[in-house]
Every structure is written in C-alpha cells, then in structure tokens.
C-alpha cells in the first residue's frame, strides 16, 4: 500500500470517527431557569460575559474593598440553585444544573467552586446555631472532625 493511500485511509478514518461521535441533532443544553423575571444583566450579555462580571466584582471586593451585590457569585447561586424532591439544595455545579450544563457542553472548567459554596449557606447557618454552641460553626466543625461522626448529623 502506497503512502498516499495510507494517508487517505487515515483521513477517512478520522472523519468517520468524528462523525460517529456526533449525535444526529445536538441541541443547546437545557438547564433550570433562575427565580426572578430577569437577570442582573441582559441574558445575551450574560451568556458572553458572565465571567468578566464575576472577576471584576472579585477585584472590586478584594482589592478595593467595595462590596456590592449586583454581580456577586453568591447571588448567582441563590437565584439559580435548585432543590431536589426532598427539598434539599442541589449543588449548582452538579450535572444538569445551571452552571454545569453549559460548562460541560463547552468543556470549560468551572473553578469558582473549588473555593466558593455551590449552594446557599443555610446549612452553615444551622450548623452555627446548634444550642450550646455559642462560638460559631467552626467549633462545631472541629468537634465533629474529632468525633468522626458523619458531617450531616450536625445540621439536624
């Protein structure tokens, strides 16, 4: 077999591989709507620029100490997070949820939630309000770390 035919075969194989992996009609990802009528910016602008707003807000907050809420990640999560049938929050970076569905589709890594919370902080508030534990959630967390009990017990 000549080199030319070998290359042609290779091209055909790659083409076949790519087309075999393409679904017949892939639509844009479907994800749950937010709570309000309208986002803090027009939808089309958010689709393109949400990461810029978040980074800008972070710089304003961390470097300048200007703490506004318009573009805060916490508010994004509060509005877009969903609850499961048991009434518990589903992490917003879980498959099919608001953030993850498009990030998965476009293969863009979500690194916000390596530090930030993926759901509203009601759980933490509960953790801090356990009677007899006046300090904060931190003490509870420490106690549980030493007691080796499952973490979820603290919230109940």
């Amino acid at each position: 077999m000549s080199a030319g035919r070998l290359i042609l075969l290779g091209v055909c194989m790659v083409t076949a591989l790519v087309s075999a992996n393409t679904p017949a009609a892939a639509d844009a990802p479907v994800f749950p709507r937010g709570k309000g009528e309208q986002c803090v910016e027009p939808t089309q602008i958010m689709r393109k620029n949400h990461m810029e707003f978040l980074v800008h807000q972070r710089d304003d907050t961390v470097y300048q100490g200007v703490r506004t809420t318009k573009h805060s990640l916490k508010n994004c999560v509060d509005c877009h997070v969903q609850k499961n049938s048991a009434g518990q929050f589903i992490p917003i970076d879980a498959p099919g949820q608001f953030c993850q569905s498009c990030h998965e589709f476009a293969s863009v890594k979500l690194d916000c939630f390596e530090c930030h919370a993926t759901m509203p902080d009601e759980g933490h508030a509960k953790l801090g309000n356990i009677p007899g534990n006046m300090e904060s959630g931190a003490a509870t967390l420490t106690a549980h770390a030493f007691s080796k009990k499952p973490f979820n017990d603290a919230a109940q």
Binding site: S2, A3, G4, R5, I7, L8, V11, T15, V18, S19, N21, T22, P23, A24, A25, A26, D27, A28, P29, Q44, R47, K48, N49, M51, E52, C102, E104, F105, A106, S107, V108, K109
Partner: protein, 261 residues
C-alpha cells in the same frame, strides 16, 4: 417639543431594529454554512487530489540526504523525528527552528482544543488539554511574528519571499489573533457557536452568534481551508513524499525501482 421620540415611535423603531437584526443573523448563518460546506469540500477533495498526485509522481533517483538510515524502520524513525522535532531544520538554523516549531505545535494544540466544538460529549483527552490549549495561541503568535520578522529582516530570505509567503503569515496570524481576542477581550456565545457547528455536521442550520470577531475568525479559517490545497501549506502532506527524506540508503542491497515514490 420633546427631543426624544414618542413611546409609539420608539417601540416601532425597536421592532424594526430587532427585525433587521433577525434578518442579518439569518443571512449570516446561512452564508457561513454555505461557505463552510464549500470550504470543507475544497479542502478534502483538493488535498486528496494532491496526495494522489504526489503518490503517483515517480522518484527516478536514489537521493536520500546522507547520512541516511539503511533500512525501512530507520526511515520511519527519521521521518518521525522530522515530523515531531523538525530535526533537519534544527540542524540548519536554530532561530527558524525555534519559531517554526513553536508555531506548528501551538497550531496542533489549538486545533485539538477546537475539537470541543465538534464533539458532544467532549472527549476526555480534549477536555484535559483545554487549559494548555490557551497557551498554544500565544505560542502560535510568538512563532509567526518571529518567522515574519525573519522574512522581513534577513536579506536573503526577503529577496526570495513572494507575496504569498507574506499572505500566509498574515492569514494565520489573523486567525490566531482573532481567536485570542475572542478568548480575552470580545467574547462570543460559545454554547450557541457549538450548537451551530454540531448543526452543520448533521446538516441543520442553526443560528450563528453574529459577533464581529467570531465572523472575522471564521471567515479567515474558511479562507485558509480554501487556499490550503493550492498553496505552500501543502508541505504538510508533501513532507511524507520527499525522496530525500523517505528513501533508505540501500542502493547496493536493493535495486532502485523509480516507478513510484
């Protein structure tokens, strides 16, 4: 009289503008779809034809560049070093090698990174190289600028440079530059773009996000695809058919049959 239009006029203007926008998006989506189908056909048929032509071109002389390997596995190893490391270029000119190698491997990584727009779900290794792929864009620009400076600043190279040599550099630099500008300055809706691309692959025409930088990027890529089979860029398949590289140094062991490459 108020200086601004009445609400009735304003709403009519708004409706008119949004209709015009809708028509523009429709026209642009179909125009780019037609151009992409045309460019893909030209690229595949054109390069395929060239490869057939190359494979049928006789190599009458035994002319491997010596010192050359004496066996077929040796030739395969040499070709591998040539394709992956640009070995002969490294031996001949370090600056050209540096810029050329940085550009080509940036290009490879950037191309592979773009597979995310054509596969659903995205293959795991394509997802893995996404972050490295961003730096590939910088490597491309670094290499291309270096190669262009060489072409302009080195007397002997400038003398033998044809307009098309400059055009190729400008075209690919335009593609890399518009890509980086989209990544860092004027973003586009990548989800809508991917939907459009997957649509094209299954012969459905969806809405293309009509952002100027995206339209420039795609138009330049279409130009590149069309010009590829009639340009110096054919050195990509051509390298494999170079008698000086693909022959073993064995004329005494085996008689050279000059019918085929």
């Amino acid at each position: 009289m108020p200086a601004y239009p009445s609400p009735q006029v304003a709403s009519k203007v708004y409706v008119l503008v949004s209709r015009l926008k809708g028509i523009a998006v429709f026209v642009v989506s179909y125009l780019y779809a037609a151009l992409f189908y045309l460019a893909t056909a030209v690229l595949i048929v054109g390069v395929g034809r060239r490869i057939l032509l190359y494979s049928r071109t006789p190599a009458p002389l035994k002319i491997p560049t010596t010192p050359a390997p004496t066996s077929t596995p040796g030739v395969v190893a040499r070709m591998f070093r040539e394709v992956v490391f640009f070995e002969s270029l490294f031996k001949s000119n370090k600056w050209t090698w540096l810029f050329g190698w940085a550009f080509h491997f940036g290009l490879l990584l950037a191309l592979l990174r773009h597979l995310r727009y054509f596969t659903d779900p995205v293959w795991s290794w394509v997802a893995f190289i996404q972050s490295a792929g961003v730096y590939a864009g910088y490597a491309m620009v670094f290499g291309l600028v270096g190669l262009w400076i060489r072409r302009l600043a080195v007397d002997r190279v400038r003398y033998i440079s044809a307009p098309s040599d400059h055009l190729m550099l400008a075209l690919i630099l335009g593609i890399a530059g518009s890509g980086l500008l989209m990544k860092y300055v004027w973003h586009t809706d990548v989800v809508a773009l991917k939907t459009y691309m997957l649509g094209l692959m299954s012969l459905q025409i969806k809405q293309l996000p009509a952002d100027p930088m995206l339209l420039i990027h795609l138009a330049l890529v279409i130009c590149l695809m069309i010009i590829f089979p009639i340009s110096k860029l054919l050195h990509a398949p051509g390298l494999f058919f170079s008698p000086t590289r693909n022959q073993a140094d064995n004329p005494r062991e085996r008689r050279h049959m000059p019918t085929n490459a």
